[in-house]
Each structure stands twice: as structure tokens, then as C-alpha cells.
Amino acid sequence: MSRYAAMFERLGGEGAFGAFLMLGDPDLQISARLLDAVVAGGADMIEVGIPFSDPVADGPVIQAAAQRALAAGVRTGDCLDLIAGFRARHRDVPVGILTYANIVLARTGFMRDVAEAGADSLLIADVPALEAEPFVAKMEQAGIAPVLIAAPNTPDTTLKRIAKLSKAYTYCVSRPGITGTHEGGRFDSLLVERLCCAGAPPQVFGFGISRPDHVRAALSTGAKGVICGSAIVECAALGGDVTALVRLLKGRPGTTRHRNELNLPAKESGNGCACDLARTNPIGAGLDSDRAVSGDQERRRDPVSPGLRTDGSAHQI
């Protein structure tokens, strides 16, 4: 079983928390320590950037992080070493790479090298579904799980392609724009629903997640996780305690508490979306699925429903 699949299974419907850091920011040693620090704070998976000179999908915070890493002389090979080091220390934590097409293209055997370093997935920010197939073929050959981005404005035909090509998870963009520049997002439950019905792997929200209430809002859509980037990168850049920040964002002190420890209700079968219920109730599908949708939404509003929770005792930074 892949590390992502094992993680989602272990969390049992409780939202996964992904922490993003730019590899090599501000230098290799501190970068390695930061990766450990977010895991200590309870990050269930880490997403790491390989710095690129022209990151068009990123806002000022992550642009600056890439610039710091490049200015420190960090090369793609150094990033692979950081991943390999992390993998040696953390056998089970899924590692996803987020980077840009030109970085991938420039290194012969990029996919093989990242697989050997111990990364699990790869998202290329400037490769949309339209252009993804040659990249995905190479990733699959190397045993790297492709992750594609889906946005609220992505049409159904493209969502189907994204669902087919994405393997580890589906990266859902919470709003138009770039990373980290706007507060919060419009966490679109319809996007989660549409991806679910298209058979996509677990939906994980990114963009605009910087506070515990953003995490809760994102997970209340039925998404299976969140990724927080700019807030963590900025905290690190200001010399803050990223371990405490991750704890705060997750809304729980201490290490990850598993679903069964929280006595949460048993997980539903299937993906938990309206179309699962519709499939299990084929008779009168129209009416039933309507009811199923509203029922599903009610469950999501229930405070003890699956999802990350706040208990109010989180550390302030």
C-alpha cells in the first residue's frame, strides 16, 4: 500500500494535514530541521517545493522562499538529498513534491531520482491536465504518484481527466489566484462532490489556509485533507516555531490523535459523497440522491463529524 493510502486509511476520514516547505530555504541544514519540526507538530504528510526562478503560481511568501534557497546555492540534487534524509528519519510520512515543469524537464531521469530519494508524489504547478499525459506516463514508470490540480472553474470533462490521472490525492484550489496572498478561500463543497463523483483520489484543499478556521472550513466540505504553505513558510522565515504553528492549525496540542482515540463515528463505506449513497440506493435515485446530498451536508456540519478539530488549548505563536 502506498504511504498516502496508508495515511488516509490510518486517519479514517479525519482530515489529513499537509505542511508545505520550500526545500533549501533558507539553507540545507535549517531546511532539514524544519521538515522534522512540522512532523513533530503533527503534519500527516509533507509537501516540498523544489525552488524555481519563475514560480508563476506562487505569491510573495513562497517566491521569496524559492529566492532564498536559490541565493543559498541550493540545487535540485541538494533537494533530493534533503528528501532522502527525511525519508531515512521518517519511514511512513508521505512526501509530495511541488515544482514547475522546467525543473522536471531540465534533469534527465528526474522521476527516477525523486523516486529513489523516497518521494511519493509530484505536482507540477504549470502542467494542467491538458498537457499532463507525457509527464504522468513518466511518473508512473518511475513509481511516483501524479497529483493534478482541480479548481472550482475546471469543467467536468477536465475533472474526469484529472480524476483519472491523479493517483495520490487531488489538489483542490480553494479560489482563483496564487498561493498565500489572500485570506481564506471559498472552500467549494461542489468541487469536492464533483471530484468524488468523477472517482478522483482524496480531495485535499490548498491555497488560502492560514488559520485553524480555514482548516475547519476546508474540511467541512468533505475534503480529505488540507495543505498549508505560505503561513508555515512565513513563520519559518520570521524565526517562529513551526511545530507550534502546525499544532495550532490542526487545532490539537500534542501529536496526532487517531480517529479511534477520539471515539469518532465509524467511517462510511465508499468515498462518502452523494454518488456513493445514490449508488447504494438505486431505487428512486433522483429523490434519494437529493436527500443524500442534504443529509451529507448536515453530517459535515455536525461538530463531532470527521475532520480536524479545535479544542481551544492550542499554543499561541
Binding site: D54, V56, G59, A106
Partner: protein
């Protein structure tokens, strides 16, 4: 997408997923407009009665050889850029957009976008590298006079590449109300195709004019290449003719160093700003900062169709240094009474070299812009 966005292996649509619907909308409205006689009537009316087309083809009287200048410097706005901003401006109207954003290097595209913004009633925002804002103060003021807001971009090398990054970032949040009026035949599909079609008028006129004046086709057509819109516009109608097509890149302070913008001569294949094309980059895919005396050629990528024309051998690409361009700028001023843009001076410089070797060859040069914007820089450099 309805059209093939590839030129051989080059081109494509490498943008964040969020922008794909905006590019699909743009392609659809472009294709729809191409079929609509009312669109062409409006565009051709503006080109003729507002922008001043057709532009003349001027035979040089005093420069050596047999050089003809296609005078885009005489177009309203002072450069060929006006051709395609009118086209894209009308498309933006058709899409119901209310705001235009654009990047600019030398400032010529920014000025052209400010013109169309004022003419057609758009809110207009221009991203310009902070380095270029310094180099091209006059153009910044021109844009502001026409109601555009100029935002200096401080990231990266603070030139055209960084301005494009910033415009793309703006667009990924604003596409519902905003059209990104990309200024050259580069970027993601459909821009390279669409910009070529709107600039094709340069070559269509030049071809008819040279045949009219000379009685036959020219031997060579020469144009400077930064992103490559004036060159592709001039080349387009000559592609099937037995005519040499020569693109002139900025060799800056010399092709052996790092201070140039000669993407096709010194670059390797990569992906930047939405397209697979030649790039100036290091071995790890980090895009290089470039240099040229002319801000408009100071760009580390190039339109994907030029990449294809290079690989297929249909066009030749050569370099011209800052010093050679300055000498040509001066020669054209002294010999013909024409102050051309530093960008265009690169094409003139190569035409002069060619004319020296082949006295009888008829050479059409794309004089893409006028030199007013460069006069103060020339004053400093030629002092």
C-alpha cells in the same frame, strides 16, 4: 482547445489549471471573431483610420545596398505593437471584460495597451520590471498620461520576464473580469497563433509593397526577435516564398558571455511562461537573467513558432551586439533621417552587414518602432 497549439514540438499551454478555462475562452472568441466579417470591418477600420495603416515601405537612399524599411515606426503609438492590441482589445470587449493587464519591456507594448485601454474604455494596469521603469521613463509617463497604472516589478532580474510572471499571477486571480493582453507571439496557446495573425498585416503589406516597387520578391526579410511578434508578423506572408527569413537576436555585450538575450542562438529547450521553447537557462532549469541595451529584446525565452522555424531551418537567426545596434541607430539617423528604436536597430545592423556582402540583394527590414523612447539613453551611450 480547438486549434493545434504546437509548432512542431514547441508551444503548448503550460499554465496552472485555473487559467485553462480563460485561455479556452480566448481561443473560442478568437476563432469566432475570425469568422465574423463585422469584427474584421471594425479592426480594419481602426487600423486604417486610427492607427494609420498601411505603413510605408521606404527604400533607403543613402545607406549602402538595397535596403527597404517597413515603417512600423510610423504607426500610431510608435511601434508595431498597436496592430495586435487593437485586435486583442476588440476580443476583450467581445468577452465582456472590463480590465486589461499587460507586461511591458521597452514600454512600447505598455503604451500600446494604454492606447487601446483609453480608446475602448478599459481599466488598464501595466506590469513593468523596475529596471525597465528606470530605463524607459518617458514611456512610463506616456502610459500614465493615457490613464494606465504602471506597476514596477521588483522580483527576479526586474525586467520583462518578471513583468510577465507578475501579469500571469494577476490574471490567475482576475480572469473573470480581466483580459491579459500579452504583448508578443509567445506565452501559452492561443497567444502565439493569435498575435501572429494580428501582426500578419505587416508582412502582407510589405510583400505587396516590395513587389509593387521592385517588380519581384525581396532576397531577404530581416527583423529583430525578442519575443518575436514583429518578426513573425513580417515573416508570416513570406513563409512559402523563396525568400531568406532572418531573425536578429540581442547579442548584448557578446555571445560568449552571459550578458545577452540570444535565446535561439545560445538557449536550450525548456518551458517558461506557458510554452515549450528555447530558453536561456542553467543546467538545472533556472532561467537566466538576460541583457540587452534594448529593453524589448531583454527576454530569456522566445515565441515557440520561432523555435520551430529555427529547428526546421526555414528561418535563420543571428546576433547583433549592443555596439553594432548603436552604430546602426546612428547610421540610420545620419543617413536617412530616421530615429529607430534600439530593438529595430538590431535588424538594421544585420541588414547593413548583409548589404556589404551582397550589394544587389533586396532586403526588407522590419523597422518595428521609433526611437524617441531611446533618445536619452542614446545621448548617454554615444557621448
Amino acid at each position: 482547445m480547438g486549434l493545434n497549439g504546437r509548432f512542431g514540438r514547441f508551444g503548448g499551454c503550460y499554465v496552472p489549471e485555473i487559467l485553462v478555462p480563460a485561455l479556452e475562452q480566448l481561443e473560442a472568441v478568437f476563432l469566432d471573431a475570425q469568422e465574423d466579417p463585422a469584427f474584421h470591418d471594425e479592426l480594419n477600420g481602426l487600423l486604417a483610420n486610427y492607427a494609420g495603416r498601411p505603413t510605408p515601405l521606404t527604400r533607403c537612399r543613402n545607406l549602402p545596398g538595397n535596403i527597404y524599411l517597413k515603417r512600423e515606426d510610423l504607426l500610431h503609438g510608435g511601434a508595431h505593437k498597436t496592430n495586435q492590441v487593437l485586435g486583442q482589445g476588440l476580443l476583450a470587449k467581445r468577452m465582456g471584460k472590463t480590465r486589461l493587464i499587460a507586461e511591458t519591456g521597452a514600454g512600447q507594448h505598455g503604451v500600446a495597451t494604454a492606447i487601446v485601454g483609453a480608446l475602448l474604455g478599459f481599466e488598464t494596469v501595466i506590469y513593468m520590471g523596475a529596471e525597465d521603469v528606470e530605463r524607459q521613463k518617458l514611456n512610463v509617463f506616456r502610459m500614465e498620461l493615457m490613464g494606465a497604472r504602471v506597476i514596477p516589478v521588483e522580483s527576479g532580474g526586474r525586467t520583462l520576464k518578471d513583468a510577465i510572471n507578475e501579469a500571469l499571477r494577476d490574471w490567475s486571480a482576475s480572469f473573470e473580469t480581466t483580459h491579459y493582453l500579452l504583448g508578443t507571439a509567445a506565452g501559452p496557446h492561443p497567444f502565439p497563433t493569435m498575435v501572429r495573425e494580428f501582426q500578419r498585416v505587416i508582412g502582407r503589406e510589405a510583400r505587396a509593397q516590395i513587389v509593387d516597387q521592385l517588380g519581384h520578391l525581396p532576397d531577404a526579410v530581416v527583423a529583430c526577435v525578442g519575443g518575436g511578434s514583429n518578426a513573425i508578423g513580417l515573416f508570416a506572408d513570406f513563409i512559402d516564398d523563396p525568400v531568406r527569413l532572418i531573425g536578429v537576436e540581442a547579442a548584448g555585450r557578446g555571445l560568449d558571455g552571459a550578458e545577452h538575450g540570444a535565446t535561439l542562438l545560445r538557449g536550450t529547450v525548456g518551458i517558461l511562461h506557458g510554452a515549450e521553447t528555447y530558453l536561456l537557462q542553467d543546467a538545472e532549469g533556472q532561467v537566466a537573467d538576460t541583457w540587452s541595451v534594448s529593453a524589448g529584446l531583454d527576454y530569456p525565452a522566445v515565441g515557440p513558432e520561432h523555435a520551430h522555424l529555427k529547428d526546421s531551418g526555414r528561418a535563420e537567426y543571428v546576433g547583433c551586439t549592443d555596439a553594432e545596434a548603436l552604430a546602426a541607430f546612428k547610421a540610420l539617423a545620419e543617413g536617412e533621417g530616421i530615429l529607430c528604436a534600439f530593438e529595430s536597430a538590431h535588424a538594421v545592423a544585420h541588414a547593413l552587414k548583409l548589404a556589404e556582402q551582397e550589394q544587389d540583394s533586396a532586403i526588407v527590414v522590419g523597422l518595428s518602432g521609433r526611437g524617441d523612447k531611446d533618445v536619452s539613453q542614446a545621448q548617454a551611450l554615444l557621448a
